[in-house]
Symmetry: C2
Subunit: 426 residues, 2 copies
């Protein structure tokens, strides 16, 4: 569900260059840049992936400039023959590429400092578009570039950014975004908030939040993102005045929180694994796992959070039945009578993980991720969860069925386990 923001909000487009982006590699820049730009009140009208071809780049840049006030080109600034973003931009803007000796010395210094010989190919990186400013790149040899077109009253801006993410992100955050705001969005006041929900489908979330969503204004932008049962609701307010935006934010946030009710678990840049971590720390609890079909996916998510070692101890990759028995201590009788994919086995796994790891909480997952292994009684997608904690002498067990392929089932099972855990300890 979405409504588009004010058409008068400055429009920006993203062009990501690299033939690999048209051959199977996912573009990570466009989602990142679009999200940041929207939160800053810009209208992101389009994002595109282009091949390493100066003609294609020139065509796409010309078209984008007709529609937009700002264009961000990513990638193709390296030293090799197929890095042709500079040439494409020169063609589109009808500007020459000029060798900048100062820039070349800087590149040479950087490469020299790293102990490499300076290849002639790196000379290409020292060419700037006529009239462009170089933007310093602390983490790589290719400088970024910025060209300002048109008068200062209604300028159009073109940025050329290097492709490696650890070079692009700091240049974007420290130089490009502030520059865009100053030049295109002066006086534009923007407020935003994000809510994180669990325990409901995307359509249900839309229905629940409808009273907020229906408050349509041209400068109000709502988005619902759903993945594996976790929902993000984003609101951006880019109205005519700062006070109006703030007032609206306060009001909408209050209303949305009430509507979201018990489904709400976090705000802003939150995540389910962070919320679980906070709840565990707040209650002074530690956690141990026994993962079978997910085999580490849940643990990997929990430990994405820096500092997770304060509440997450570890546990068992109880993938084979042999290890469920031998390492964890699941009874042979349980496996024989109920099978490894059963409430009984899940419960025992959670209890044993808790006991052996001496954690306050034990959580287990065991199921059939497929494609093989399904039966009539327990089809592919059947997953059992066990949860054992100090709040009850009894171990809880849940059964759920997930649709999708092997990886989807495993991801959804890990997300569901986090949701059940949060519900229990929140």
């Amino acid at each position: 569900m979405n409504s588009n923001p004010d058409p008068r909000a400055p429009r920006v487009e993203i062009l990501c260059v690299g033939t690999e982006l048209l051959g199977g590699r996912a573009d990570g820049h466009a989602p990142y840049l679009a999200k940041r730009l929207r939160a800053a009140g810009f209208l992101v009208g389009r994002a595109s992936q282009l091949p390493d071809d100066a003609g294609e780049i020139a065509g796409a840049l010309r078209e984008a400039l007709r529609r937009s006030e700002g264009v961000i080109l990513c990638g193709g600034l390296g030293p090799t023959f197929d890095d042709v973003t500079r040439e494409g931009a020169a063609k589109a803007l009808k500007r020459r590429l000029l060798f900048d000796p100062g820039l070349f010395r800087e590149i040479a210094r950087k490469l020299g400092r790293h102990g490499f010989a300076i290849p002639e190919s790196n000379r290409r990186q020292a060419f700037l578009l006529e009239g462009a400013s170089a933007l310093a790149n602390r983490y790589g040899s290719a400088p970024a570039q910025r060209v300002v077109l048109g008068g200062s009253r209604r300028p159009k801006l073109v940025y050329l950014l290097p492709g490696p993410p650890r070079e692009l992100a700091p240049i974007f955050e420290r130089q490009v975004l502030p520059d865009l705001k100053r030049r295109l969005a002066r006086g534009l006041s923007v407020e935003s908030f994000a809510l994180h929900l669990i325990g409901l489908a995307e359509s249900k979330a839309e229905e629940l939040l409808r009273p907020v969503i229906e408050l349509k204004r041209p400068w109000l932008d709502f988005t619902i993102l759903a993945s594996d049962g976790e929902i993000e609701f984003h609101a951006v307010m880019a109205g005519p005045s700062r006070s109006q935006n703030r007032e609206l934010k306060t009001r909408l946030l209050r209303q949305a929180r009430v509507l979201a009710g018990r489904h709400l678990f976090g705000m802003g840049e939150d995540s389910l694994e962070k919320a679980v971590g906070r709840a565990l720390r707040r209650r002074g609890l530690t956690l141990a796992l026994a993962e079978s079909c997910t085999a580490g996916i849940l643990s990997a998510r929990l430990t994405q959070v820096p500092g997770s070692s304060r509440y997450f101890l570890g546990g068992y990759l109880a993938y084979s039945n042999g290890l469920k028995r031998r390492l964890l201590g699941v009874k042979a009788e349980t496996l024989r009578r109920w099978g490894a994919v059963s409430a009984e086995c899940a419960g025992e796994m959670a209890r044993l993980a808790r006991r052996r790891c001496r954690s306050s909480v034990g959580l287990s997952i065991t199921g059939i991720a497929g494609p093989a292994g399904g039966t009539r009684d327990k089809p592919v997608g059947t997953v059992f969860f066990g949860l054992s904690g100090p709040w009850s002498a009894k171990t809880e067990a849940f059964e759920r069925h997930f649709a999708g392929d092997r990886e989807t089932i495993r991801r959804r099972a890990a997300s569901f386990a986090l949701q059940q855990l949060l519900r229990a300890i929140a």
Copy 2:
């Protein structure tokens, strides 16, 4: 590194619709469709993400049709008010949207069959572009559509596909791709191959394969994809004749394999975890893990492969030092004297995982993923690996330093562990 294929190859563009794709959600369709189309010999000139806005969709479709013979639109065919791909396409093609009673009955039947009431909004899904054919959607209510423009000698094709991946993929594979081949690429013969390499940087792979890459022809397309130390080399031959393509494929494949040498580990749709699985099975070996800083990432990768339970037993999420000692049995002395991030600890972890899980091979990872925890001697990114197997009485230990943020370090460490394992058992 890339070179573009024959400009005479039929050109296709991909337009993915959904405001969420411009608000942080990554577009999964474009990489998938582009990869499949290129392997079939099409030139994928551009992929774009568009908002749920009929005007934007219409503009992008008009532009794409000027440049390309085929355009694939994904998403925005659902029943809600913001699903406007049909309207955008109608605007661009100057065609009406006509209600199709047969289609409506079919949609009603599908929804009825699933036990839902039939909402009026689903009526919208029964509208077809004037002159379009409906393409059956087995897995959802929204039918796909195809419009053929122009004469039969030089037709242009527009496809509207539903957004959910499990609906889109079968329609694309079974209906769209064969249709595109028949109508646009009749007589076009295509051969392709892919090599998977490890143990070298992307630039080094390019250098190594240069004799093949330099054999430039307008209808020869090479791509190198690198991620976390794993390299894919793709070659597509879409030359004038079938026999010429086959001959060239045989020759290039032989040459590329020789050039890749010991770095080559797989072909086609292979992956490092599959290659490891094959090698383990071939040698009749089983594997157990002890993961600390990666905390399940390696295990999750190994178990992505269906049937991995035949050689992967499981192991320990030895995240906390307490569990390293208590569960796994690492000596307190080792932890005190060398620390958990040391060759000694890694070696002991691998040996103990192997012994306790009764596997033939034990593999361990312990390191500092950051952002905190680094010291002068052991900065963030320092990771130790242990490997114990029947080929030697001695446990091997490796130390490596990885650049990047917490998740990058963890992913790279897991990939490096797989590479070392494969090297040992291949």
